[in-house]
Amino acid sequence: MAVVTPPPAPAAAPVTRVARRPGGKWYTKVPGYGLIRTTHGLQRTMLLVGLGLILLFLVAALFADFIAPYDFNQTRYLGVPFGTQQPPSADHWLGTTVGGFDVFSRVVYGARTALAVVVMAVAASIVIGVALGVVSGYLGGWLDRVLVLVTDALYAFPSLLMAIIVSIVVSSGSSSALGGMVSASLAITVIFIPQYFRVVRNATLSAKTEPFVDAARVAGSKPGRIMFRHVLPNVSQTIPVLTTLNASESILTLAALGFLGFGIEPSSAAEWGYDLNKATTSDVANGIWWTGVFPGLAIVLIVAGVTLIGESLNDVLNPLLRTRGGSTTTADEAELVEVVMAEAGDHRAPFERDDAVPPVTAAGDSRAAPGEAP
C-alpha cells in the first residue's frame, strides 16, 4: 500500500516528454520506480528512508513465524517457564514481559497486527469515503447537504472516544484475533471516512465544472459513468498522501485502543499498545525499561516511515510545490517547426540550435523514427 504507482502526470504539468521505452533494466519495472525517479535530494532521501522502514515492518509481518524465536503467546519453552520481567539475554534478546512473554517475539508479531488493521481500516475508509465524496459532490442537492452535516458532526466528536464506542459495540471491548482486528479497523474507519469524504467532495465540486465533464455530458454519458470514469481519476491525486497520513494515525489509534484496554486480548494477537500499557503499569517504576522501550520504538518507527512517505509524496504529487524540468521544446513548438519546415522546403538552418534538439517523438511529433526503437 505504501508503494503507489504514479498516476499519469497531472494536466497542469507542462512537461511534454514522457519516457515510455519498451526495454530497460529490470528495476525500471518495479512498481514505484517511476515515482522515485521523479524525486530529488532531500525528498528522495525521505521517500527512500520511509520505504525502507515500511519494508522492514512488512518483512517482519509476513515472515514473523520465521523471524520470531517464540510464539507471541508462548510463556514456556519445553515445559520450562521463561520467567517474568527477565532482562535481555541470549535466550530472550529483548527480555520478557510481566506476563512472561518474549518481548522480541511480541514486537515482531505486533507488526502483523498493526499492518493488518491499517490495511483493513484504510481500504474500507477509502472505498466508502471516496465513493460518498464523488457522489455527494457531483449530485449536490439534499443528499450532499445531509452527508456534509453527518460527516461534520463526526468531525466534532472526539475521535478516540468514537473508536472506543465502536469497539465496544462491535466486540464488547476485547475479543479474538480476527474480531479484535475487525473491530479496531472499523473503529478507525469511522473516523477516517469524513476525511476522505471531505477532500474528494471538494475536489469533485471544482472538477465537475471543468469543460471535460461538459464534454462527457454532451457525448451522452450517464451520471454514473461521468462520476467514476471522468471525475474520479481527476480527483484522486490527493488520496495517496491522505492515505499515508491516515495510516500512521490509524497505527496510533490502534495502539491507543490497546493501551486503554479496548484492544485485542494478549493471548489472541500481539499488540504494541497493550504491551505498552502493561509496561507502564508495572515495569517502568521498577527500572524495567525493555518491556516499554521496544514496542514504543516499533510504533515510533512505523509511524515515522509512513509519515516520511506521505510527506515526500505530497511534495511529488503536488505540482504547486514542484518546479518544472525536462525538455525545453514544447509540443506546440515541435509541431510548428514541422509545419514551417515543410513550407520552407528543406530549410532546416533557421532551427538548428546550439543545444541539440531533443527527440520530441513523445511530444506530439509525427516523425517517429522507425529505426530508433530497439
Binding site: A215, E333, E343
Partner: protein, 555 residues
C-alpha cells in the same frame, strides 16, 4: 534614430528546476529609443514575457539571468532591493494583461494610484489625490473626481485597464512595458486602449515595449518588431519591413496564418461547400435565459428574446463581445443549459421538458467543440479513449470497430494513428483541438456547436485547425453554429452571421451583407475596431478613427 534608451544585450534567462536547468530565453538583444514602440511578438511560451520581466527583476527566485540590460547608463541585471525599487515604477513601469487581477480589490483606484505616486515622489496626500485625478482624466475616465473613489469591481474591464495605465504613467516613466495589455478585453475596448497608448507616446514621449501575439495590434501601434521563437530572437526590424518582407520562415508562416478581415478566402478554405438545404436543424424562437442573481440582487438576463434558424449544411457564425450571450445560446442548443422561456427545437425535437433518455439519444446526433482543448479533454484518458467516448456511451459497435473508427477520425483531422495511445498533455494546443473536433464528429453529428474553438490557440496553429474544420464540414455536411468573437475567422468560414449584443440579436444576414454592408451601427463599430494585420492599411484606418474621434470630441 535617436540614442537607444533601454538596451538589452545577450539577455539569457534559465530556470532552475528539479531536473536540468531550462533555458527560457537565449541571448536576446534589443533596444528601444525614446518615443518608440517596440513590439515583441511570438507564440505563448516563446520567452517574450520572461525576457521583459527579467529586466525589472520580476521573475521567481529560480530564474538565473545573464547578459545585460541598461536604461541609459544604469545596469538593471543584478540590481536588488532599494536600487531596483527606485527603477521600477519611476523609470520603467509595467501594464499587465489582466487588469481585474492586477488591481487590489479591497482598495479604491485613487488609493492605488496615490500609492504608485508616493512610492517615488515626496508629496502630500492632497497633492497626490489631485495628481491622481489628473491622471485619470489623462487616460480618459469620465468624471475622474468621482471615479477616484471607486473600487475595481465597480469599473468595466476597459476602465480598469485605463487605471492600470494611469498607475504606470504616474511617475512619468521613460519606458512602459505593456504585457498583452488588451488580450483580456473586447475588440471595441481594445481599440480605445490602443488609441490611448498611441496618444501617450505622442504626448509624453514614453518608450513602449509592447508584448503581444496579435499581429493586428503590432500593425496598429509598433514602429519596430522583434519576433521571438523558442526563446530566441529570430527577426527584428521596422514594422513595415517585417510585414512586407519577413525573412525568417517562422515569421513568414506566422504572417501567412493571420486571418485578414475582408480579404479573399485562401484556396484551402474554398473547396466545394455542400448546398444549404431548407430543412431547419436548429430553431430558436424568442429564447430567454435568466441566471438567478445572488440574494437581494436581480436576475441576470443572459439571453433576451433571440430568434434564429440554422439550416442543414449551413455554418452560422454567432459573434459578439463577452457577455453578449453567445456562449449561453450555444450551451442551450445542446441541452447543457435549460432555457427560461421561449422555444428551442433541435433536429425536430423540442428541448422543452425533454426526458433524460430522449435527450441522451438526441445527443448522438449533436456535437460540441469547446473553447479550451486542454480542459475539455479528460487529462486521465488516452486520446483514443477520448475520441471513442461518444461511441462507448451509446454502445456503438464493438471495441474493434471503435478502434477502427478512431483511426479514421484521427486521419480525418490529419493526425497520425499512433496518437490514439497518447495522453492529451503530450499534444500541442492545435493537435488537442483537432482531437476535440474528432471526438465531436465520432457519431457523425447533424448539428455541431463550436464555442470559440480557436481562441485559446496561437494564430500560427489556428489556421491549420480552421482548415481541417472547413474541409470536414464540406465533406460531412453537418450544420454548424460557430461561436466566436473574432470577425476575421468568421469571414473565413461562415455562410451567415448573427451579431449579438447584451443578450439580443443586433443583425442577422449573409456573410457579405453583414461584413461588407452592415446595416447596424454596432456592427460597423465592431468591424472598424478589428485591427488589420497590415501596417499601411491599419495606419489609414487609425487616422480615420482618430479623426472621427476628434470631431466628436470637439463638436
Amino acid at each position: 534614430m535617436t540614442r537607444p534608451l533601454l538596451r538589452a544585450r545577450d539577455l539569457t534567462v534559465s530556470f532552475q528546476t528539479d531536473g536540468a536547468p531550462v533555458r527560457a530565453v537565449k541571448r536576446v538583444s534589443f533596444e528601444v529609443a525614446k518615443g518608440e514602440v517596440l513590439a515583441i511578438v511570438g507564440e505563448s511560451g516563446s520567452g517574450k514575457t520572461v525576457s521583459s520581466r527579467a529586466m525589472i527583476g520580476l521573475l521567481p527566485r529560480t530564474a538565473r539571468i545573464e547578459g545585460s540590460a541598461q536604461i541609459d547608463e544604469t545596469e538593471l541585471i543584478g540590481l536588488r532591493g532599494e536600487a531596483m525599487r527606485a527603477v521600477r515604477g519611476d523609470r520603467i513601469a509595467m501594464v499587465f494583461q489582466e487588469p481585474s487581477t492586477a488591481l487590489d480589490p479591497v482598495r479604491t483606484v485613487g488609493w492605488q494610484i496615490r500609492e504608485a505616486l508616493q512610492a517615488h515622489r515626496r508629496m502630500t496626500r492632497r497633492q497626490a489625490m489631485a495628481r491622481a485625478i489628473e491622471l485619470l482624466e489623462l487616460v480618459g475616465i469620465p468624471e475622474p473626481a468621482q471615479r477616484i473613489r471607486s473600487y475595481p469591481h465597480q469599473m468595466s474591464g476597459g476602465q480598469k485597464q485605463r487605471v492600470m495605465i494611469a498607475m504606470a504613467i504616474a511617475c512619468d516613466p521613460e519606458v512602459i512595458i505593456a504585457d498583452e495589455p488588451t488580450t483580456a478585453l473586447d475588440v471595441t475596448v481594445q481599440a480605445q486602449i490602443l488609441d490611448l497608448l498611441h496618444d501617450l507616446r505622442e504626448r509624453l514621449g514614453t518608450a513602449i515595449i509592447l508584448i503581444t501575439h496579435n499581429m493586428g495590434i503590432v500593425a496598429d501601434l509598433a514602429d519596430r518588431v522583434a519576433v521571438m521563437f523558442r526563446g530566441e530572437l529570430v527577426e527584428q526590424g521596422k514594422a513595415e519591413d517585417v510585414f512586407e518582407r519577413p525573412s525568417h520562415p517562422y515569421t513568414q508562416h506566422l504572417l501567412s496564418s493571420v486571418p485578414y478581415l475582408g480579404r479573399e478566402r485562401p484556396a484551402a478554405m474554398n473547396t466545394a461547400a455542400p448546398k444549404v438545404e431548407n430543412e431547419v436543424v436548429l430553431a430558436v424562437k424568442d429564447l430567454k435565459v435568466y441566471f438567478p442573481g445572488r440574494i437581494g440582487s436581480p436576475a441576470v438576463q443572459a439571453i433576451d428574446g433571440v430568434s434564429l434558424e440554422l439550416r442543414r449544411h449551413e455554418i452560422l457564425a454567432l459573434v459578439g463581445e463577452s457577455g453578449s450571450g453567445k456562449t449561453t445560446l450555444g450551451r442551450c442548443a445542446v441541452g447543457l443549459l435549460p432555457p427560461s422561456s421561449g422555444q428551442l427545437t433541435v433536429l425536430g425535437q423540442s428541448l422543452d421538458r425533454i426526458k433524460p433518455d430522449v435527450l441522451r439519444a438526441l445527443r448522438k446526433r449533436l456535437g460540441f467543440v469547446f473553447q479550451d482543448p486542454a480542459a475539455s479533454l479528460n487529462p486521465r484518458m488516452a486520446v483514443g479513449a477520448c475520441i471513442a467516448e461518444p461511441m462507448t456511451v451509446h454502445g456503438e459497435g464493438t471495441s474493434q470497430s471503435r478502434r477502427e473508427r478512431v483511426r479514421e477520425l484521427l486521419e480525418a483531422v490529419e493526425l497520425p494513428a499512433e496518437f490514439a495511445s497518447r495522453y492529451p498533455h503530450e499534444l500541442s494546443g492545435g493537435q488537442r483541438q483537432r482531437v476535440s473536433l474528432a471526438r465531436s464528429l465520432a457519431m457523425g453529428p447533424e448539428l455541431l456547436v463550436a464555442d470559440e474553438p480557436t481562441s485559446a490557440l496561437d494564430v500560427s496553429v489556428q489556421a491549420k485547425v480552421l482548415e481541417v474544420f472547413v474541409r470536414l464540414q464540406h465533406q460531412m455536411g453537418f450544420a454548424c453554429l460557430f461561436i466566436t468573437h473574432d470577425l476575421a475567422v468568421v469571414d473565413l468560414l461562415a455562410d451567415r452571421i448573427a451579431v449579438m449584443k447584451s443578450g439580443q440579436l443586433v443583425e442577422l444576414g449573409t456573410r457579405q451583407e453583414v461584413l461588407r454592408h452592415p446595416k447596424e451601427q454596432y456592427t460597423r463599430d465592431l468591424i472598424a475596431a478589428v485591427p488589420l494585420p497590415d501596417p499601411a492599411a491599419q495606419r489609414l484606418r487609425q487616422r480615420q478613427r482618430r479623426g472621427a474621434g476628434l470631431e466628436v470630441a470637439t463638436s
